[in-house]
């Protein structure tokens, strides 16, 4: 009987040094949920301030800080890590791998994200958070000290994100189980491929843009100094070359989760698998050529606007393919409405609303009215909250039993679902109208008698519903850990490989590497009347990576260096990079051959030279 990866006694050291993809996924998850709560609190503050006209709950500067950090936190420190949590948890299991390709790098990626997020958020206590919006347009951003925290925090966490993306891609390319061809991979794995590619090619321009901002603020560069011949529109372009794919790299994994969950709850094969894969790749591809639709009002001229407008509309085509494929997966199936199912199903209309307003925004001439108003806020919150967040909740209820071996409470889950659904529609639907009624975005307050009072009040009430829903989720998690129902191996009668192994899985996931004979391999074996997968190898000892504290210390070094830059202390910079450099040096001169584990989990040999 195999022991689970969670069976080891809890110790902090174990979690700090872990290179197990499941544990790193869990670290990502709880860090992500923490920042989700922080970002949610910031959202609540925003909505409280905007509940009444000329409210003085927050002043302009504080509001701008809270608003900036809400966007930054939600996108970089909540949504991204939460999706990374799922990728870490699920992707190796779905492709029949025992770990990711670079476990050390995986850990490093997490700790870089962790310290980057900490650095940016520490600005609240160190003289003010960034306040130029999550876009931090130059030249406005150059006026604020908080921008330094924004730049360095994102630089550090961004480096971690790029590492993780490379790691996932390499894992998927080199570690698939025999028979798991590219066109047999589950949709979530596919979306991980495309999202990782987007990270690689989109986060790098962000790194570049942040460097420009950093040099301008710290070393007096002249990129954005108009008097010296600089150009501020350059930053907008580079930022949105990153910024638009950023949205897709968040929404594609969400699509992946929904595809897997809908197929499972409908007990039916995903309708049009090939066109789904095609659509995923196509969305990623087109996503790179539409960035300027965020800049229709910048004054690029009618030709550029038209080209980018039409290119943007084209995104609607592959997205439409996906929506219809999901619906036709349900049609003819037996749809189970558990909590995961409810979230997955309600994802469809919410996302459709976000999608159609997206096409409306793509109409560049009309966008002169929509741009930078609450209409845009409503649009992207339908995509992000209605789409990504609901997908995250769906994925959470769906995969929780696999990862933690316990079922999340369904009653609490359903309460949460309804509260969230009502709250989110209440908050954001009305904002479409607010935008058309002339309310610009990022305003810390508004005058009475402009016809916006009721709508804003309604919107704020909705925010409280969502808050209640998230509190219920936290309660659910606590209750489940305390006395949750134990999960069986395959609670949803699943289709993909992760359901063919115990819940929670053993440290090495697969005692023997399975052979994949079809799409939905586990379903296929079940339909053949098999109780387990076919195996590609006999039971033998398994090679696993060694845990290491170095990644954490290495990331901590960059954290110190970050403060060094912010406070213009060369000592801090050298100290920080010194720590990182020493870690890199130790890592490169010390041979790490990993360890061998026996599938029974009885016997561990350290430092065995495994090959050659």
């Amino acid at each position: 009987m195999a022991t689970s990866y969670l069976d080891k006694k809890f110790s902090l050291w174990d979690w700090l040094t872990t290179v197990d993809h499941k544990k790193i996924g869990t670290l990502y998850f709880f860090a992500g949920i923490f920042y989700f709560a922080v970002g949610g609190l910031e959202a609540l503050l925003i909505r409280i301030q905007l509940m009444y006209p000329m409210n003085d709950f927050l002043d302009g500067e504080t509001f701008n800080q809270v608003m900036t950090m809400h966007g930054t936190t939600m996108l970089f420190f909540a949504a991204t890590p939460l999706l990374f949590a799922f990728m870490n948890w699920v992707v190796p299991l779905q492709i029949g791998a025992r770990d990711v390709a670079f476990p050390f790098l995986n850990s490093l990626g997490f700790w870089m994200f962790f310290f980057g997020a900490l650095l940016t958020n520490s600005s609240f206590f160190l003289g003010g958070a960034p306040q130029a919006g999550w876009t931090s347009y130059a030249p406005l951003a150059l006026d604020y000290k908080g921008t330094d925290f924004f730049v360095l925090g994102l630089q550090i966490s961004g480096a971690g994100t790029i590492m993780s993306a490379i790691n996932f891609l390499t894992t998927i390319f080199t570690m698939r189980a025999p028979g798991m061809t590219l066109l047999r991979m589950p949709l979530f794995t596919w979306s991980t491929v495309v999202a990782s590619a987007l990270i690689m090619f989109a986060f790098t321009p962000l790194t570049g843009a942040l460097f420009l901002l950093m040099f301008e603020r710290m070393f007096d560069a002249k990129f954005f100094d108009v008097a010296a011949g600089g150009n501020v529109v350059l930053y907008e372009h580079i930022f949105w070359i990153f910024g638009h794919p950023e949205v897709y790299l968040l929404v594609l994994p969400a699509f992946g989760i929904i595809s897997d969950v809908i197929a499972a709850i409908s007990r039916k094969r995903l309708f049009g698998y090939h066109s789904m894969v095609f659509a995923t790749v196509l969305i990623g591809f087109i996503g790179f050529m539409v960035w300027a639709h965020h800049m229709f009002a910048v004054g690029m001229g009618p030709t550029v606007n038209s080209v980018f407008g039409i290119a943007t509309m084209l995104v609607g085509v592959p997205t439409g393919i996906k929506v219809f494929n999901w619906i036709f997966t349900m049609i003819g199936g037996k749809v189970q409405f558990n909590t995961a199912g409810l979230f997955a199903v309600s994802f469809i209309p919410s996302f459709v609303i976000g999608g159609i307003t997206g096409v409306m925004l793509a109409s560049s001439a009309a966008d002169f009215q929509f741009h930078d108003t609450y209409f845009v806020i409503a649009h992207f919150h339908y995509v992000i909250v209605g789409g990504i967040v609901q997908a995250i909740f769906a994925g959470m209820f769906y995969w929780w039993p696999k990862i933690f071996g316990k079922m999340l409470n369904e009653t609490l889950g359903k309460w949460m679902f309804w509260l969230f659904l009502i709250g989110f529609n209440l908050t954001f639907y009305i904002q479409h109208y607010l935008g058309l009624w002339g309310m610009p975005r990022r305003v810390f307050t508004y005058l009475p008698n402009q016809g916006w009072d009721t709508a804003n009040f309604v919107s704020s009430v909705g925010a409280f519903f969502m808050t209640a829903a998230v509190i219920l989720l936290v309660i659910n998690v606590i209750v489940t850990f305390a006395r949750g129902e134990k999960a069986v191996q395959d609670p949803w009668y699943g289709r993909t490989l992760e359901w063919s192994i115990p819940s929670p899985p053993p440290e090495y996931n697969f005692a023997r590497t399975p052979i994949v004979r079809s799409n939905d391999p586990w379903w296929y074996e079940k339909m053949q009347g098999k109780k387990e997968m076919q195996y590609a190898e006999p039971l033998a000892e398994i090679h696993m990576p060694n845990p290491s504290i170095i990644p954490m210390i290495m990331a901590f070094g960059t954290f110190i260096a970050g403060y060094g830059f912010i406070y213009s202390s060369w000592f801090g910079v050298f100290l920080g990079f010194g720590i990182t450099g020493v870690c890199m040096f130790i890592r490169s001169i010390k041979d790490d051959h990993g360890q061998h584990v026996h599938p029974e989990g009885l016997h561990v040999e350290k430092g065995v030279h495994h090959s050659a």
Binding site: T170, T174, M200, F211, D220, A221, G229, G230, I238, S588
Partner: protein, 205 residues
Amino acid sequence: MSTLDFKANGLPAHPEKATQEGRAKLVGFWLYMSAEAVLFATFFGTFMTFRNSVNGGPTGAELFAIPMVFTATAILLVSSLTSVFAIMAMQRNLASKMRFWFAVTVLLGASFLGLEVYEFVEYVHEGHTFTSSPFGSSFYTLVGFHGAHVLFGVLWISTLLLRNINRPIDTYVAPKYYVASLYWHFVDLVWVFIFTIVYLFGMVG
């Protein structure tokens, strides 16, 4: 298939790809390079935007001189060739030959850096500094960023050589050498674009 598909003293023909870890390392490194290419592109783009925004300072045509740029280019090209020789030696399990060629590569890299430092000092004297104009800022960002890559490559290969000075080539270290040489080629490749876009374009005006 190729003349190198033989086992040299028990080493596989492609020791860098003999293990799963080695293969993963190679794929991962290629991905890293493709991402890095986009980062360089950002700085190239920035430079292209500002290549004529000299803010009253010296222009590229006034600053750049063919002999210096050509020397730098030749050094990097030769160093790329020597690193190819090193990898060929590695694949034939000729450890000392490999070390020799890598050492030559490191020396060439270091002399390139020396030349670059000299060049920057010249420019600063002529009033072309990081803060003098958008042209200056973007020039030093791009070329300096490349220079930092060369420096990192020199340190990386040196560390590899020193760490494994007494160690025969095996499937554990082979991917490390191979990846380091790929990195070196990449740095050389970026330079091809730098001398074209920064220097030659700059001289044309």
